[in-house]
């Protein structure tokens, strides 16, 4: 029997708080889960620094990847099964792509990618196509199978239907993370009727469409996503932790460039500092390693690195005020000068952070906003873009919400024992007591 069709002697199940059970029957899926590259995802949190705001958010990318796989498995084995537009040959490709879509994420990837100019999608491809356990499992399906999986994840596959299941405005990835993140953070947003959405999904040649009768469930899903972004993902305290984490990495990199002698040799960072990270080095990185260095760097001589690490480890985060870059950029320059006078390097201690989200958008011919829209399947068989049928979705389509905040160490500014007059001016400009 071909490896791609091989089944386990008996079904394996993972207990899961979101989907109740994750079901595995395919040998290739079971083998992929067992690879060291996939197991590494257990050591990378799904929501990065969010656990410092919502203490329950300790779940990993491993949990989420299994969840996305399970949703796609249900779509493929229950909803699409036997439909003429669905090619059964694509089943195992879709399942593998769903399971592996986040494989290249590194620890605290948002900050890491920014500081070290990395791209987790590049590493997802590199792990799938490189000399790895995952690659060897995929090659057993066929020599060109790793490339096919990588193409689906990178959205460069010609099979648009399969791509849309993993990555679109209503995909298995989003459906899992909204529910999972809501569950683990404990918030009441993020819940929607996924069972209903799955029941009304239909395959078409180049994307998934939703039966018109499921429109209200989709509206609910879009609103849930909107709420989760502003209540959880862009929470200002989480962003404060993210700002400090990013600055720690910046400081460590700068010190390395200045030939600073670290008390604790950051051997895991050297290839990152030098921009020569190999796949092997990358796979070794996880949050345990990063947090080890943060712990040790609290004892460093460099006052900035030491302070930032203490802040992160002890959750002594920056405070923030609202900031309007258009109106206040001159004020920012003034503040920056005052911070220098007060002995605080503004590069590390005065940080503008922006968040922005576009809840839903549709493609306008000739323009570059290229989000694949959600399409409804009408009773007469016609296909119509969602916002043309739904007033709720129409009201938020293309409406981007952006928020800027200015972060700073309030405790340093409140300490009047040094440079009280300058700090008084800083407080006045920041409009804080």
């Amino acid at each position: 029997m071909a490896y791609s069709a091989e089944k386990l002697n008996e079904e394996k199940v993972f207990k899961d708080p979101v989907h109740r059970y994750i079901h595995v029957r395919d040998r290739v899926i079971w083998d992929l889960i067992g690879t060291k590259e996939f197991q590494r995802l257990r050591r990378i949190k799904q929501l990065g620094t969010t656990y410092l705001t919502f203490h329950g958010a300790e779940h990993s990318r491993f949990n989420h990847s299994l969840g996305v796989y399970e949703i796609v498995r249900r779509i493929s084995d229950d909803v699409f099964l036997g439909r003429p537009e669905w090619d059964e040959e694509d089943r195992i490709l879709t399942l593998c792509a769903a399971l592996l879509h986040d494989l290249g994420h590194g620890p605290f990837s948002h900050s890491f990618e920014k500081v070290f100019d990395l791209d987790h999608e590049h590493y997802t491809r590199a792990i799938i196509l490189g000399d790895t356990e995952v690659h060897h499992v995929l090659t057993r399906v066929s020599a060109d199978f790793p490339q096919k999986v990588a193409d689906v994840i990178a959205k460069t596959s010609k099979n648009k239907l399969v791509v849309s299941l993993i990555s679109s405005q209503i995909d298995a990835d989003r459906m899992d993370y909204l529910q999972r993140d809501a569950y683990f953070t404990g918030v009441s947003y993020g819940h929607f009727d996924m069972e209903r959405i799955l029941r009304v999904m239909r395959p078409r040649e180049d994307q998934v469409v939703i039966k018109q009768s499921g429109m209200h469930a989709v509206e609910d899903y879009i609103m849930s996503r909107y709420q989760m972004y502003w209540q959880v993902y862009f929470h200002p305290v989480t962003r404060s932790a993210e700002v400090i984490l990013t600055k720690i990495l910046h400081r460590a990199k700068d010190l390395h460039e200045q030939k600073y002698k670290f008390k604790y040799d950051p051997i895991h960072f050297y290839s990152l500092f030098n921009g020569e990270i190999t796949l092997e080095d990358y796979i070794k990185l996880d949050e345990a390693i990063i947090l080890y260095y943060f712990q040790m760097w609290q004892e460093e001589e460099d006052p900035i690195l030491k302070d930032l690490c203490c802040r992160f480890m002890d959750r002594n985060l920056y405070k923030y005020v609202e900031f309007d870059p258009a109106k206040e950029y001159k004020k920012l320059a003034e503040l920056s000068a005052l911070f220098i006078k007060a002995g605080m390097d503004p590069e590390y201690y005065l940080v503008v952070d922006s968040s922005s989200d576009l809840p839903y958008d549709f493609y306008r011919p000739g323009e570059e906003e290229e989000r694949l829209p959600i399409h409804l399947l009408l009773k007469n068989g016609d296909i119509r873009e969602l916002s043309r049928e739904s007033e709720i979705v129409d009201a938020i389509s293309g409406k981007r919400r952006t928020d800027h905040k200015l972060y700073f160490p309030a405790d340093f500014i409140a300490d009047d024992s040094k440079k009280p007059n300058i700090k008084k001016q800083i407080k006045m400009l920041l409009e804080i007591d």
């Binding site: 010609k158 950029y329 011919p365 323009e367 570059e368 981007r400 952006t402």
Partner: protein
């Protein structure tokens, strides 16, 4: 602080004017891919590499009053022109950006059409593949554009000429 905003404004300033969102996206992607430190991340979309972060930044700069966006009807669709406003120039004066040789590259790209830049950016996106595979990707993923072998060759030559302009040779 607001460095990434300043970099993008600098790119538009040295290009004098950029017509079309697609063109702007491709110019920044190509510049980033070749040598210049733009921070926006790109993924593959319908027209090739595309950055939602870049779209967002442009929108922000327009809202801040730093960029001027003129929407004009062209045939069956709308086209957008981007230039710096006076306030934008003032902001850029305070937040200087140093990217020598960027202007040469961007002015050259600005003289090309968006269709060709779409091809160039797609070739760059798949640059780690052998040329024959890149061609196959271009012909499969961009079948509607009907690019020819000759155009792909031109794209490769163009990339080399840009690298020379950027001082990479």
């Amino acid at each position: 602080m607001l460095k990434d905003h300043a970099k993008l404004m600098h790119a538009i300033a040295v290009s004098e004017e950029i017509v079309g969102r697609k063109k702007l996206q491709k110019m920044i992607y190509i510049a980033k891919n070749i040598a210049f430190p733009f921070q926006e991340r790109f993924q593959f979309h319908f027209y090739g590499p595309y950055s939602e972060e870049l779209t967002l930044r442009v929108e922000e700069l327009c809202n801040m009053g730093f960029l001027n966006e003129v929407k004009e009807k062209k045939g069956g669709y709308y086209q957008y022109r981007y230039t710096l406003t006076e306030t934008g120039k003032e902001f850029l004066g305070i937040n200087e950006v140093e990217m020598p040789s960027l202007q040469d590259c961007l002015l050259d790209m600005n003289g090309q059409n968006a269709r060709f830049l779409e091809l160039v950016s797609t070739v760059l996106y798949f640059n780690d593949l052998p040329k024959e595979e890149v061609k196959e990707k271009v012909f499969t993923l961009k079948s509607k554009q009907r690019y020819t072998d000759e155009e792909v060759e031109q794209a490769y030559q163009y990339i080399e000429s840009l690298r020379e302009k950027a001082g990479l040779h």
